[in-house]
Symmetry: D2
Subunit: 388 residues, 4 copies
């Protein structure tokens, strides 16, 4: 392990960041789960805490006493191997533990963790701590996007605040960057933290291609809408088309048309859409259909990783054409931590880059995020590519 930042400082910063994200919330906002994919903010706060308690404190801090024995049941997420848990769809049905109890739980665990960090833990313990920190950073991303969903789908559309600027405009002239065919190395190789799914570094051959230096904009998306993009079946995957029909999709999430003007809900309040800003809150199905309409395609995750130092990224998660699969010779960690990534490697699509919701120091060129193709509550966008 090799950190730019001392681990204790990183830990403290991460714990504080989660709580800062929740600062603007009313107590009630912590509780609800309007769709199954969106968890209540208090659940995120508790679950990231439970991770430290379950995988570290109960094992490595002698004399540690759990804050409440029953919390393991409440805040376990999907670690089937770690015992029974509240089913995911029920998270929004739990009024207790209260928000205030969850903050007490956090303080209890944070303090115990600091004790553990001071105790000069073994390397393998430090490794798990590091995973726990990155686990919490990942949840910070969900925390912000879940909050946006909770507020943005409320009929009163409450404002979260202006901490995050969602409107990202690129001013450079558009161009396609050509990349030569050849064997490239893919995956993490630095001596810093990465997830198991970014390893091992390995070789991939790519045929010649070009990739855009800019993200697709809201203005381009409006043209797609005006040209009937959501009504032309031949642009879509069968599954995508069924999704469009069943859910009456006709624009990105959070867009609403007010007398001919497209507005959208932002964390800072509702606003007329900026045509020059990068489009966001689209599903993979929509990204694919848009690319078909343009006569282009999405890049694979390898094409993206190879070219990523030639364009600016970091404001939108970018959909790729790649399915989320293990790299050659991928090794799943042993035990419960092995449930972390490998068990999701079917029926999901890889996103590359990072977004305005990504935690500090959490973005890197080899990071692989993944979501089901119909989801769009993340700050998703797209960048086009073509074969040469």
């Amino acid at each position: 392990m090799n950190q730019d930042q001392p681990l204790l400082e990183l830990f403290n910063q991460t714990r504080a960041d989660s709580e800062n994200i929740c600062k603007p919330l009313a107590t009630e906002d912590y509780v609800v789960q309007p769709i199954v994919d969106v968890s209540p903010p208090k659940w995120h706060l508790g679950h990231t805490t439970w991770f430290f308690e379950e995988f570290l404190l109960t094992k490595y801090l002698s004399g540690y006493r759990r804050f409440d024995e029953r919390y393991a049941y409440v805040f376990n997420s999907y670690y089937e191997s770690m015992g029974k848990r509240v089913v995911r769809t029920d998270r929004g049905n739990l009024s207790r533990p209260s928000v205030s109890d969850v903050y007490s739980y956090r303080a209890h665990v944070t303090n115990a963790m600091i004790q553990l960090l001071y105790s000069e833990p073994a390397a393998e313990v430090l490794e798990v701590i590091e995973i726990g920190i990155h686990h919490e950073k990942q949840h910070q991303e969900l925390l912000l996007t879940d909050i946006k969903y909770i507020l943005g789908n409320n009929p009163l559309q409450p404002i979260y605040g202006a901490q995050k600027n969602e409107v990202f405009v690129e001013h450079q002239p558009a161009q396609m960057i050509p990349i030569d065919d050849g064997i490239y190395h893919i995956g993490h190789d630095e001596d810093t933290f990465c997830y198991d799914n970014e390893l091992p570094r390995h070789r991939v051959f790519v045929e010649p291609y070009a990739i855009s230096n800019k993200l697709v904009t809201n203005g381009e998306w409006m043209q797609f809408i005006e040209d009937g993009g959501y009504t032309k079946v031949l642009l879509w995957h069968t599954e995508g088309w069924d999704w469009v029909q069943k859910n009456d999709i006709n624009a990105p999430m959070y867009w609403f048309n007010d007398n001919g003007t497209w507005n959208n809900y932002l964390l800072s309040g509702s606003l007329e859409i900026d045509k020059n800003a990068a489009v966001t809150h689209i599903s993979y199905y929509e990204a694919y259909a848009f690319a078909q309409w343009k006569g282009l395609r999405l890049p694979t995750e390898f094409e993206w990783e190879i070219a990523q130092d030639k364009f600016k990224w970091g404001e939108r998660w970018e959909w790729t054409e790649s399915a989320y699969l293990p790299y050659p010779n991928y090794q799943k960690p042993d035990g419960a931590l092995g449930e972390y990534n490998g068990k999701f490697m079917v029926n999901q699509k890889v996103l590359r880059g990072s977004s305005i919701a990504t935690a500090a120091n959490h973005a890197r060129p080899t990071y692989r995020n993944f979501f089901h193709p119909y989801l769009r509550w993340q700050f998703t966008g797209l960048r086009l590519a073509q074969s040469l």
Copy 2:
């Protein structure tokens, strides 16, 4: 209209009662909707308030300004004729309005209503006020049972408090009270408030029957369980049997078996079940199967009303064999208030009596409550009858 209690006093008492019921709650408890039949407490507080605003203040109090134009959308329940509304299943997805905003809304409307009450309103306005008050009393019943559901189904089983004694024991010797055949009058005839569905008073002929002077007890229910009552298909309606199978029903709601001992969750905390207390939280399907097992039957609502002055009632809503139907020459009120009762007169069963959750002065011998036969989160019980 003729009131024992002056209307203003009744109004104030009723408004205060709703808020008193919520006193023991944490803010988070106001928000959740664990099943579709259970509404968030803050929704009840807002909806009963909206009723006064919508049907009275906007029409009869000159100069009245709505607290928030958008609340009509949030707090309308099922009055389809009054415009769009949040669909019922989404009530638990709304973190806003906050609990504190809902209380401000209540104060705003309560004050305006007091103003209206002082303004010597016309008789027809007074009539709607009276309906509004009784509407709120009805919701108080749901408020308490919904709170019990929210707390009692939480894995932490928080305690509400000891304000309500749920354990009701009858000490008199059991006997069947015989009733002669003949024509009886059914329905309300006093000069006091009643709902449209209790009218008109009319004649009904009943064949000779007998009805128990006691409710069925937990002890008797345990015998039913031990005798395999939940596994004997011939005791059940087809629909009831399907419900038992699909939901793995093997005891009343809130019962849980702890190493051979039956406990149950009460508002005052979990406790070993008192065998002498009246059973509660059973569905109509279960009540019917139990009666079949006993070789007896449920009374009709007419048989209950005819005999009700011969036994004690008021602690359990009692399932009857009667379907919820209009009385001969039933008249639905005009307009939106006509949506109140008549539109539910299909596929529901009548309950008679009242329960520990019933508001003060809200119980009367002709009152007809009604629920779908599978529901059991009310304080339901049963009293047996037989034909002679």
Copy 3:
């Protein structure tokens, strides 16, 4: 037991009738189950046969050998107490037994039953035989209506034939027949066959009312449609309105509008609708809404039975306002035959009369049919009433 017709003759006639109903079918028509309520014709043929085998031949005909041991599993319908069975939704998934095997099964059982009938069986056996015959007559009704559904919902709309005249026109002037209040006797009392649910004969008091001497016509229904009957929420039950919205209901079943002209599918082929004919294929929900629109109501089943000798009936099952409930002192038969009627006595509505699909000698004034309120593939109609 007292029969106008000798039992053997009745048995043979009934067995032949079922097969005659199926004469016009192609083999393929015997197999499908387009909705759960519609069973494949071959299933009806097999199930009515299984009834005789299961409840009579295996018990009372010495030396009887089942045609095929596995048929009990295939052709049991809902007699949970008689062992495992093909779940109802799977009936249309069974290509075997073939139609020809089902006819062989019928011949096998019919012959054995004739043997049994010649053997001078005991009175209690004759009683079950009689139930078996009436059971098959009931299925004949379903057989014809299920066939109509199978053919009428096929995009090719094949013709069944002209054996049944569905177009029923009443020429007498419309009038409301007044009936005095008083105690009336309800239920079967003749010395002929009836079902358990028609017993015991008992007394009912009715308030004064009037009932129409004619069924509602297609012409009147078109006026209801033109007046927006399907779009006016206040005419409907809540459940009915949900059903209308969810299923896009805007006319009776089998009606289709061809350039402004209302046609309907009949067993004899598609035709322009006769405005003077009695409307059919409506749900209870629609019947209720229509009555509300007219400012009238449906009769109760008692009102219908009391007045039934004053008007012509027998071409349409007539929806009543009554829920399907047991008569006072109703006794369910012991054992599996007890599953026949009693277990359906919840959440269904009573229909009175009979229809063009009713078997010969199967209609009588006390007969109680029952269906869920949303169903309309039977030849249902309505007759209006009012309180006086």
Copy 4:
């Protein structure tokens, strides 16, 4: 185009083959659709015929008259761009057109196609004919597996016949074949027919790996079962585990345990399972879990294609780890035929090889079949691999 076999002969053979597959069926077997993925055999016969009518005869055979205008609606499958169609779940609800009408339709179209083939059609027409023939060959595979499903899930388990030997035993000693890393060419390059999804031929780099020379056997699968493979959550994908739980999966499809002995349903009848035969009727989820249990993995489709000349294949479709995605520079054909393959390129897994149900001359090393990961009614199997 370059054919070993003259096109007319290929066409005639293919048309005859489809009908031969159906020879053992009773009329009723042609009609049912027990699950959505299984189409009625008469639908396959009609749909493959409609393809020729729709894409060839109506366009290129002058004077052609459709057999029945309404059949386009009945037999269109998913070509959304070709107009309305019977929804997929309704195919089993259609008793008409009758089987005999479908055979007449086939004869009508076959004859017209022969006329077209004699008319010296242009190269682009020949190309569509060839697609039509291969389209029918693909459906022959489904025809046989759908028939197996229809018969094998019938409680009477009727026998289809012994035409197909499903029991495939490999006698060679097991070994892992090592393959060097390097750039390989993938995709079709011969001058014969292939689908668009096998093109273009392109370069892929693979890291060193080894692949088994044998398929996994039933005996090995029994060990997996005995070792609790279906109960160990850590072996499964999250989605796979949910599928196992929800559907109570504990063995391959068609396996049933009779007093401790594993039997399975075969087209030739039910039989004790041969431990030496290759396992079949498993989902991708199961294949993955089995590989995890072995400490190995599935090959990618590239690894399979590179090594396929080193082992015997052709009796089982083999699951690969690859998601079904377009090759670099993949071109979708224009118009409705473009709906053929590309629109399924999301959320499906690639199978390689072919199976005993594959039509003559339809197997080739570059062929890519694809199914959702939960499906197992095809003759699926698995071959293990490992990274070196």
